[in-house]
Amino acid sequence: MEVPVLKQGPFLIATVQAALTDEDLVHLRRAMVERVVIARSLGVIIDVTAMDIMDSFASRTLREVAQMIRLRGAETVIVGIQPEVAFAMVQLGITLEGVVTALDLEEGLNYLKQKFNSSA
């Protein structure tokens, strides 16, 4: 299942539509890291509202996306982690340290807009 990516102004928005396999996740990582420079984006939002769980592989991959995108000169926000998914993540020992999170797409966009307006 491919994750659709939308360009909105200076930001890229990737919306996960369903449960992702490892292969989907790796594909998403490559696509985002490639496109962020091509699109000259300042920030990337990955909306994971539809993800059924976030296990160690998924969170490691998302963390890597954020780190790689930072190396490519942009900022990543993960939005839409569901309460029960967050609960399972911390029980498992996953905290997505160093990754910015926001409640939903709207909040993620607010965060990026604020950040880049103030520095611009």
């Binding site: 939005v79 982690i81 569901q82 309460p83 029960e84 998914v85 967050a86 609960f87 993540m89 911390v90 029980q91 905290t95 997505l96 999170t101 926001a102 409640l103 939903d104 909040e107």
Partner: protein, 304 residues
């Protein structure tokens, strides 16, 4: 082993397992006679029972009419259980009866008391009927007693189980109430924790907070633990997990009211405090939360 379980779980006609006194067939005959006797004297016996209940000051929460109505129903179920040797109907009735009388404050000893009274009333009537023929009386009582015991047991256990269910429900409700998630401003939640935190409560608290963050779209949460007396390593880790899970939903947590004792515990057991944003007291916590949300509180005089 499997067979054993099967036998235990099957609603046994208890006369099958009866081995004392008369033969199986004889027992069945005696029971039929017993049931016929109880049917014939239904009116008199249940009146006698209801009278004894009132005399013994049991079921005081109920009116005379109510006692009589319930006594009639239980009496009929009782006779039916004796006749058929199956207890489902009686069990179901005991449950629904308990459901009705528990909220009115009926106690376990009252329920056990009335069942024992019925047993006594019936035994006395059997005695009166068969006192001329002791051998027969003996056999009748042998047939009656195990059944009566089982019936008493069924009703009492049904009551106790229902009571336990109610207690569990109430505990749940108390627990919900004891961790209120309060919205004090748009996007700001306060979670005052009071009392003892065990792992179960810690989990519930986290669940409630996460749901609260989502429904209120909260950005900042102040967890105030002024009312928490002590904290061990397990609970401290739960607190850290709560903070981390909230962050995954995009909310910042400020912990306030750490007592000197708890501060010492946390340092001693080496909880990673780097992830925790702490402020001395609740007021300071709210002030910091407001700053994070972009509010500025100024006295009215100073604003103009």
């Amino acid at each position: 082993m499997a067979k054993e379980t099967e036998r235990l779980e099957r609603p046994t006609a208890w006369h099958e397992t009866l081995d004392r006194g008369a033969s199986l067939e004889g027992t069945a005959v005696l029971l039929r006679e017993l049931v016929a006797h109880l049917r014939e004297n239904r009116t008199q016996l249940r009146e006698e029972w209801a009278r004894r209940i009132t005399e013994a000051k049991l079921l005081t929460a109920m009116s005379k009419d109510e006692i009589f109505a319930e006594a009639t129903a239980v009496y009929d179920q009782y006779v039916e259980a004796l006749e058929t040797g199956t207890f489902e109907a009686l069990q179901a009735y005991a449950r629904s009866l308990s459901e009705r009388i528990i909220p009115r404050g009926v106690e376990t000893h009252e329920v056990v008391g009335i069942v024992l009274l019925l047993r006594d009333v019936l035994a006395r009537s059997l005695f009166a009927k068969y006192q001329a023929d002791f051998t027969k009386l003996d056999r009748i009582l042998d047939a009656y007693e195990p059944a009566a015991n089982r019936i008493a047991n069924t009703v009492a256990v049904g009551f106790v189980q229902e009571r336990e269910r109610v207690i569990r429900q109430q505990q749940e409700a108390i627990r919900e109430l004891s961790t209120p998630v309060l919205q004090v401003r748009e996007r700001l939640l306060i979670l005052p924790i009071i009392g003892v935190i065990d792992p179960q409560r810690a989990r519930q608290l986290t669940e409630q907070l996460l749901r609260g963050i989502r429904t209120n779209r909260a950005k900042v949460v102040v967890i105030d633990i002024t009312g928490v007396a002590a904290m061990d390593a397990t609970v401290a880790n739960h607190l850290v997990q709560t903070v981390e899970a909230s962050r995954l939903l995009g909310a910042t947590v400020i912990v306030t009211g750490l007592s000197p004792e708890i501060a010492q515990t946390l340092v001693t057991i080496g909880v990673d405090l780097g992830k925790m944003n702490t402020v001395g007291d609740l007021q300071g916590g709210i002030e910091q939360a407001e700053r994070l949300l972009g509010y500025k509180v100024v006295p009215i005089g100073a604003a103009s």
